[in-house]
Every structure is written in structure tokens, then in C-alpha cells.
């Protein structure tokens, strides 16, 4: 009798364990839009988490799908409206959030540069085929996307919660820690509150577009900042 009772209890406890495991696996395997890992809507972040792959592959696939009729974009827009936002109570630290934001900003800019570069390259080679989803004209799809994104932004509008005044440095100075040459890009990154790698990439592009004048601006800023630093070190009494 006692043994039977014990067996019953063991069986119940096993059932409890398995049901708790099941519920936890259900929570983690639910397909949602990520609330922390997002560039536009968090769909790629959520799907990548679900599939346990790096989200950048999904994002690149999405961008490259434009060359093959833009079906990826259609799926993305539909999924953005259908998938629920991640409701899990797992909170990540602000440091982790900053890290994810930095990676996403780099992925976004990198993806745009890659897309534009590939588009120009393929156009020059005559390899761009204007295929569109449902054989609709792009003239119709573009305003539709614009209106859908606008609608999405309005629907998912957040309340203005006392947005803080930005906490950026008062003065532009050469960065001593984050520098490749003279620390101008590092200084600018600090002054504007943006990732230094993005500033460097933009500076290279500006230098290219202005046929080298961006480099002259870099040198000019370095000279001004250096003379300012000297003045600060040896102030005239």
C-alpha cells in the first residue's frame, strides 16, 4: 500500500516536472516579434531567436530578396502585423540593450550600403530584372509599402514618456582612446552620440564623394583641435 502510494506520488511529481518543462519550452519556442532586438519591427530578431540563428542572415536575405521580386518584403510586412510582440518577462540589462542597438545599427547601415552597391553593380552589368510580387507594378507597390509602414508606426505608436534631454559632451575633442589616426572620428562619435565605426564609414564616403575634400576637413579639424588643446595645456596668464 505504502509502496503504491509512493509510486503514485513519484508519478505525479514526474508529471509535474514534465508539464513545467513543457510550459517552459513552449514559452521559449513561441514565434514573436522581439522587443529588444529590432531595427524596424523586431520580426527578424524574433524569427532568428526562434530558429536559433544569427539575425543578420535573415536581414541580409530580406534585403537580397528585393532582387528576386521582393517576396521577402511582403512576408516581412505581413509577419510584422501578425506576430505578437514578445511578452516574456525576461529583462535584459541596459548595457546589453546598447550592445544589441549598436550591432543592429551596423547591420542596418551595412545592409543598405551592400544593397545600393550591388544594385549599381548589377545595373551596370545589365543583370537587374524588375520582377515584382504578384506581378504588380513597383509604382503601385512602393506607395503601398510607404503607407503600410506609416500605418505600422501609427498603430505601434508609443506614448511620449518624458524623453530625456540628450547627455552629450559640450565640446568636440580628439578621442584619445578610440583612434586610428588622430582621433577625429572618435571625437565626433562621442560628440554626436553615435557608433565610431559608422562615423568612419560615413567619413570615407564623404571623402570619396567630395573627391578628397573630406580628408582636408579631417586635417583642418585636427589642426584646430590640436591648437585648442595646446591653449588649454598652456593657458595665457
Amino acid at each position: 500500500m505504502d509502496e503504491n502510494n509512493r509510486n503514485e506520488i513519484d508519478f505525479k511529481s514526474l508529471e509535474n516536472v514534465s508539464s513545467s518543462n513543457e510550459s517552459s519550452s513552449y514559452r521559449t519556442s513561441k514565434l514573436t516579434r522581439s522587443k529588444d532586438d529590432f531595427i524596424l519591427t523586431g520580426t527578424c530578431g524574433g524569427v532568428a531567436k526562434y530558429l536559433k540563428i544569427d539575425q543578420v542572415f535573415l536581414r541580409i536575405l530580406l534585403i537580397l530578396s528585393i532582387f528576386f521580386g521582393g517576396w521577402g518584403i511582403v512576408v516581412y510586412v505581413v509577419a510584422s502585423f501578425l506576430l505578437p510582440p514578445d511578452q516574456s518577462s525576461q529583462e535584459i540589462s541596459s548595457e546589453e540593450k546598447q550592445k544589441i542597438k549598436r550591432i543592429n545599427n551596423r547591420t542596418f547601415l551595412g545592409g543598405i550600403l551592400l544593397f545600393v552597391g550591388l544594385y549599381i553593380m548589377l545595373s551596370n552589368l545589365g543583370l537587374i530584372f524588375y520582377v515584382s510580387p504578384f506581378n504588380l507594378s513597383w509604382n503601385f507597390i512602393i506607395p503601398l509599402f510607404a503607407l503600410l509602414i506609416s500605418l505600422y508606426l501609427v498603430v505601434h505608436r508609443k506614448q511620449i514618456e518624458n524623453e530625456e534631454q540628450s547627455n552629450l559632451p559640450e565640446k568636440l575633442s580628439c578621442s584619445l582612446n578610440d583612434k586610428k589616426f588622430f582621433g577625429i572620428c572618435g571625437g565626433f562619435a562621442l560628440y554626436l552620440g553615435v557608433d565610431v565605426l559608422i562615423i568612419r564609414i560615413l567619413w570615407i564616403l564623404v571623402t570619396y564623394v567630395t573627391a578628397g575634400i573630406g580628408l582636408l576637413v579631417y586635417m583642418l579639424l585636427f589642426i584646430i583641435l590640436k591648437s585648442e588643446r595646446k591653449e588649454n595645456e598652456n593657458p595665457v596668464s
Binding site: 550591388l118 524623453e163 552629450l168 559640450e170 567630395t210
Partner: protein
């Protein structure tokens, strides 16, 4: 994305979408360039206003650049400017100068932004005449050839560089 900027982007996209639909149904007769120009200006004017108010320098610089790109699109279309290199070079210098000038407006204790902006704006205005000088014209023609050919490769390389180094 900060809240007012989300609203501004959604409004600019709404304007763009509606104008494009009106154009498709032949209610209005405008081109893509004018449409983009109008949308850019619709985004950038409140963008500059809010970022100046809140002190978001990055958005301030981006909004200023977008405003002038919008003005360039409109001007190019309305005044039928030709697709020549001088326009892009002059405009890039002007936009760069304007971005530095707005940084000075935001924080007028930073005189270096004013100096750099004045140099760039003067260079932009004089570039129209400077680039007509024979030796400079020859130089920029050669640079232009390299630039046009290498433009797409540079973009792909920089994009890949950013993607590869995204976690560093």
C-alpha cells in the same frame, strides 16, 4: 527611435504614399524626384526643429542633410539642371558645410564648426568657377572616371566591412 521622429517619419511616408497614389491615378502631374524632394522636406523641417529643441545632434545633422538633398531634388527638377558632376560636387560641399553650420547653431561655443562650415560653403560657391580651370577640370575628370567605376565596389566593400565587424 525617439518618439517625435517616429511620428515625423510616419507623416513623411504618408505624404509620400498619398502623393504617389495621386500621381498614379493622374490626379497630379509630378515626377519621382519631386515626390522624394517634398517627402524629404516634410521629414526634415520638423526633424531639425525637434532635434534642436532636444539636443539630438546626430538626428540634427541627418535632418539637415536630408533637407538639402530634398531641395536639390526639387531644384534639379524644377530648373531642369543637367546631370553633371559639378552639381553633385558643389551640392555635397554645400550640404557638408550646412551640416557643420547647424552644429554651430546648436552649440555656438564651438567656433571650429563655424570656421569649417564657412570654408566649405565658400568652397562650394567658388567650386562652380574653380572647376572650370583647365588643370583642375582635367584632374576632376580623371578622378570622376575612377569614382564612377569604383563607386559600387566601394559601397559593397564598406557594407561587408560593417557587417563583418558588427560585433566588434
Amino acid at each position: 527611435m525617439k518618439t517625435p521622429f517616429r511620428d515625423i517619419i510616419s507623416f513623411a511616408l504618408l505624404v509620400f504614399g498619398i502623393l504617389l497614389i495621386l500621381y498614379l491615378f493622374e490626379v497630379i502631374n509630378i515626377t519621382y524626384l519631386v515626390l522624394l524632394g517634398i517627402s524629404f522636406i516634410v521629414y526634415s523641417v520638423p526633424g531639425v526643429f525637434f532635434s534642436l529643441k532636444k539636443g539630438y545632434r546626430l538626428i540634427l545633422v541627418i535632418s539637415t542633410a536630408i533637407f538639402f538633398v530634398g531641395v536639390l531634388f526639387l531644384t534639379k527638377q524644377i530648373y531642369h539642371l543637367p546631370d553633371s558632376r559639378e552639381i553633385y560636387l558643389t551640392s555635397s560641399l554645400f550640404i557638408l558645410g550646412a551640416c557643420f553650420l547647424i552644429l554651430f547653431v546648436e552649440n555656438n561655443r564651438e567656433k571650429k564648426f563655424f570656421i569649417v562650415s564657412i570654408i566649405l560653403l565658400v568652397l562650394a560657391f567658388t567650386s562652380v568657377y574653380i572647376f572650370k580651370l583647365p588643370f583642375l577640370h582635367l584632374f576632376f575628370n580623371k578622378v570622376d572616371l575612377v569614382m564612377l567605376n569604383g563607386w559600387s565596389y566601394l559601397l559593397v566593400l564598406l557594407g561587408l566591412f560593417l557587417l563583418i565587424n558588427r560585433k566588434k
